[in-house]
């Protein structure tokens, strides 16, 4: 790794060669919208809201790239709010607003870009899912389970467990619901039961405080992969 310099909206910034542009910009206080990004999982470039316009020479040919996946190099010139960038962002927000008007946080984000209603109508059949894929990546990369994936293609694409049936490998940890930016994934708890993705899990009581705090299946799985004994995991994090 070597330290390099890039220019963003006229400001000179230091960066490590090869690190992704989004991280550099955010570290330096630039405000870029994202819906499919989370620092804990690998970037995927799905929502494309973090698009920036780049060029290598002042006045040279430019192109739009997604900053979450663009590796920076010496001399890169970035515009984060050019006309093209704003066109892409506004269009994406207007398209998403038409797809999922109910998605949590989306109307507010769109309003920041001056979009309060979408010319493309308002759908009702996609729930709140914008297909950002954060749940899929969190399940695979953070939890290590791969219970979720994308099914079908194009406009029919949906997120869910295999064949959209209750998954035998899902441990009911709820990481997907936690990471979901729009509140699409619903996890409910009632007494000693937790429900998610159509599967019901029996919960374990904390050995000390007595509250139901995690599905048995999850604790067994955690014990298996971490080597920590099940008895130790039977105590909730608050009482540990």
């Amino acid at each position: 790794m070597s330290t390099i310099k890039i220019t963003a909206d006229g400001r000179e910034l230091g960066a490590e060669k090869g690190e992704f542009l989004l991280g550099v910009l955010r570290r330096n206080g630039f405000d870029l919208p994202t819906l499919c990004h989370n620092d804990q999982v690998s970037p995927d470039g799905r929502c494309r809201l973090c698009t920036c316009e780049i060029r290598w020479q002042q006045g040279g040919r430019s192109r739009c790239v997604v900053s979450c996946l663009y590796p920076v190099d010496e001399g890169l010139i970035v515009e984060t709010k050019s006309e093209n960038v704003m066109l892409v962002r506004k269009t994406i927000l207007e398209l998403l607003l038409a797809r999922t008007p109910e998605a949590e946080g989306l109307p507010e984000l769109a309003a920041e870009y001056g979009i309060t209603r979408s010319r493309y109508g308002a759908d009702t059949d996609f729930g709140k899912c914008i297909l950002c894929g954060l749940c899929v990546r969190a399940c695979k990369e953070v939890v290590g389970v791969e219970a979720l994936g994308f099914w079908m293609r194009g406009t029919s694409k949906v997120v869910g467990p295999a064949f959209l049936e209750p998954s035998p490998v899902c441990i009911g940890c709820g990481a997907c619901a936690f990471v979901c930016p729009t509140g699409h994934i619903v996890m409910t708890e009632k007494g000693d039961e937790r429900k998610i993705w159509g599967k019901t899990f029996k919960m374990e009581k904390c050995a000390k405080c007595g509250r139901y705090y995690a599905p048995k299946f999850e604790l067994e799985w955690m014990s298996k992969v971490t080597g920590v004994t099940y008895e130790k995991l039977e105590v909730c994090p608050d009482c540990r």
Binding site: A98, G154, S156
Partner: protein, 620 residues
């Protein structure tokens, strides 16, 4: 058997067949020929020959190009040239067998031309035919001439000599030749092939993957299929040369051929060809004694159009979901399984042996400044001659349509050409003198793509055309990124509204804005070029959009919601023909009296318009 001996044997056999003392019957049996009815002819032939007591060899060859003339059957009698007959059906086959094979009447009215050397009175050479005359055949050099399932045929026509030559060259020299030849990727991107090979050779990694993209999926395009079916060895030879140039003395190499499974004959012929290449020492360990090891495996596609996109193709090969990914780090550095990967199209590889055989300068002497060599186009749509044509780069659209294509069908008026597949643009009639090459097509808002060329006449509605392509792309979008997935869906909705007469004038601006954002913001080539059919039709045919919106009229007579059919009482002779054919019983009338069409019941199928012999049905 060493190569010299194999060559000698192959040439002898091939020569023997050309000068055979037995009659030889060649049947064009690629998918196009089979679809036109060659299968039935092949089934018939042995019985017919038995009945006529003729002992003849039947050879299944590939496709020579002119689809509109299929099925093609060629007859070569001892001491006579190979004579080609077109649009042969069982009845015609009987006639030519009886009259030409047994007797000596070549039926000039049924014969198309002579293939190869020799003359017959009153019959021209096949390559003097309007459609074939302006062609320069490099990628299609063997198509239709050889039996694709016989490696000997390929070798007899100079096959694998380029590989033999290349294996004695330094890899850098091969790459240098390809660079000098000016060969650019034929799959659509138009990237300089030599430059790509160079980057893959010099990338860091412990293996080199050599891939061939045979996942051709554009509607109306079938260039690669024809080459894979009719001359598989030329592609394989190109791949081996590429592998040697890229990997020799650098790293081991492994090859994959990605073919769409909807091309069963291509898969079959490639499998046979790979097997023959292996048996004869062109693939496997120590290729032709050079010490170079390389093999190619076939991978059949699962039916997704987007898997023809390079990064999606590699994900698919890895066994993952066929979604593209950003290419800020090139596949030449990190492609398949994160290793240096070279991906070229079928046609690109097929050109390589000829470049090695005839030299870079020869190849570079054909074509334009920025686009060298030839390009195979599938010329389809409203032209008289449809099929595959290989022409030098820089030929004008006009020459393609009016000379090679033989003009517009049914003497209608030429309107536009759509190039570059579903995500290409439409080029209007007034640009007929545009030279066809990579840069010119991009400049006018279309693209070369893989080489689809769809000709449209006055009966084609440009809004409907845009809707057709957007529908296709919407179905084939992988759905990964928002601009492509959501943008195409909305474009389709807006276009559909316009064709139904429910559009608003602001819709045109919305389409343009959305299209621009999709071009800028989409992840892969599919999304970035997807708005082209819409943007180019708005650019060149804006008035048609306005007519649909303001006047609620489709002057091309395509959009059913905006047209109606009427019967002209002056012209109607009361023949009942329309009444009989109308599927919705919308037409009534007494014999020999003008009929009446009930607008309430009419479903606007246009059958009455087509069947009327007196032009009494008016469409407006």
């Amino acid at each position: 058997m060493d190569f010299k001996a194999l060559q000698g044997k192959s040439r002898q056999e091939y020569k023997k067949r050309l000068g055979s003392d037995k009659p030889v019957i060649y049947v064009g049996a690629a998918t196009c020929g089979m679809a036109a009815g060659a299968g039935e002819l092949l089934k018939m032939l042995p019985q017919e020959l038995d009945a006529l007591k003729v002992n003849a060899d039947v050879v299944r060859v590939g496709c020579i190009g002119p689809c509109c003339l299929e099925p093609l059957v060629d007859i070569q009698k001892p001491g006579k040239p190979r004579l080609s007959f077109h649009t042969v059906n069982p009845r015609k086959l009987k006639t030519i067998l009886e009259d030409y094979l047994v007797k000596d009447n070549p039926h000039p009215e049924l014969a198309l031309g002579i293939v190869g050397e020799g003359r017959l009175d009153g019959i021209p050479n096949l390559f003097d035919h309007q459609m074939l005359k302006g062609q320069v055949r490099i990628a299609l050099r063997n198509c239709g001439h050889i039996d694709p399932n016989r490696i000997e045929d390929y070798i007899a026509r100079g096959g694998y000599t380029a590989l033999e030559k290349a294996l004695k060259m330094a890899p850098e020299q091969i790459i240098d030749w390809v660079k000098k030849s000016g060969l650019r990727g034929r799959g659509g991107g138009g990237f300089a092939t030599g430059k790509k090979w160079d980057s893959v050779r010099n990338a860091e990694g412990n293996i080199r993957y050599i891939l061939c993209n045979g996942d051709e999926g554009d509607p109306g395009a079938f260039m690669d299929r024809s080459v894979m079916e009719s001359d598989p060895h030329s592609v394989i030879e190109g791949i081996i040369i590429a592998a040697f140039a890229i990997a020799w003395q650098k790293a081991p190499a492994e090859g994959f051929f990605y073919v769409r499974n909807e091309y069963p004959l291509a898969v079959r012929n490639l499998l046979i060809a790979l097997d023959q290449a292996r048996k004869n020492g062109f693939l496997g360990k120590n290729i032709m004694g050079s010490g170079f090891d390389f093999d190619v495996k076939i991978n059949r596609g699962g039916g997704a159009f987007v898997c023809g996109e390079s990064s999606a193709l590699m994900r698919s090969l890895e066994g993952r979901v066929g979604e593209p990914r950003v290419k800020y780090i090139h596949a030449s550095d990190k492609g398949l399984w994160e290793q240096p990967t070279n991906l070229n199209n079928v046609e690109t590889y097929a050109c390589v042996p000829e470049i090695i055989n005839k030299g870079a300068d020869w190849f570079a002497s054909i074509g334009t400044k920025g686009s060298k060599g030839t390009k195979v186009f599938s010329l389809v749509g409203k032209v008289n001659n449809t099929g595959l044509v290989e022409v030098p780069m820089g030929i004008t659209l006009g020459e393609m349509v009016h000379k090679i294509g033989g003009g517009i069908k049914n003497s209608k008026k030429f309107k536009a050409v759509q190039t570059g597949g579903p995500s290409g643009g439409v080029i209007p009639e007034n640009m007929i003198n545009l030279p066809v090459d990579f840069d010119e097509l991009t400049r006018v808002g279309s693209m070369m793509g893989s080489g689809g060329l769809i000709v449209m006449d006055e009966g084609d509605c440009m809004v409907d055309v845009a809707l057709y392509y957007v529908k296709f792309l919407e179905e084939e979008s992988c759905g990964k990124c928002v601009p492509c997935r959501e943008g195409l869906r909305r474009m389709k909705q807006i276009l559909k509204r316009i064709t139904e007469g429910k559009g608003a004038i602001e819709d045109i601006d919305t389409l343009e804005e959305l299209g621009r954002a999709m071009e800028l913001g989409s992840l892969c080539g599919l999304g970035q070029s997807a708005p082209k059919p819409v943007l180019s039709t708005i650019n060149y045919f804006r008035q048609e959009y306005e007519q649909h919106i303001k006047e609620k009229r489709c002057y091309a007579g395509v959009c059913t919601n905006l047209i109606s059919f009427m019967i002209d009482p002056e012209k109607c002779t009361g023949c009942h023909l329309c009444e009989v054919h109308c599927p919705s019983n919308a037409i009534k009338g007494e014999k020999k009296k003008p009929h009446i069409l009930n607008q309430e019941v009419c479903i606007k199928c246009g059958i009455c318009y087509d069947v009327c012999r007196d032009d009494a049905v008016i469409k407006r």
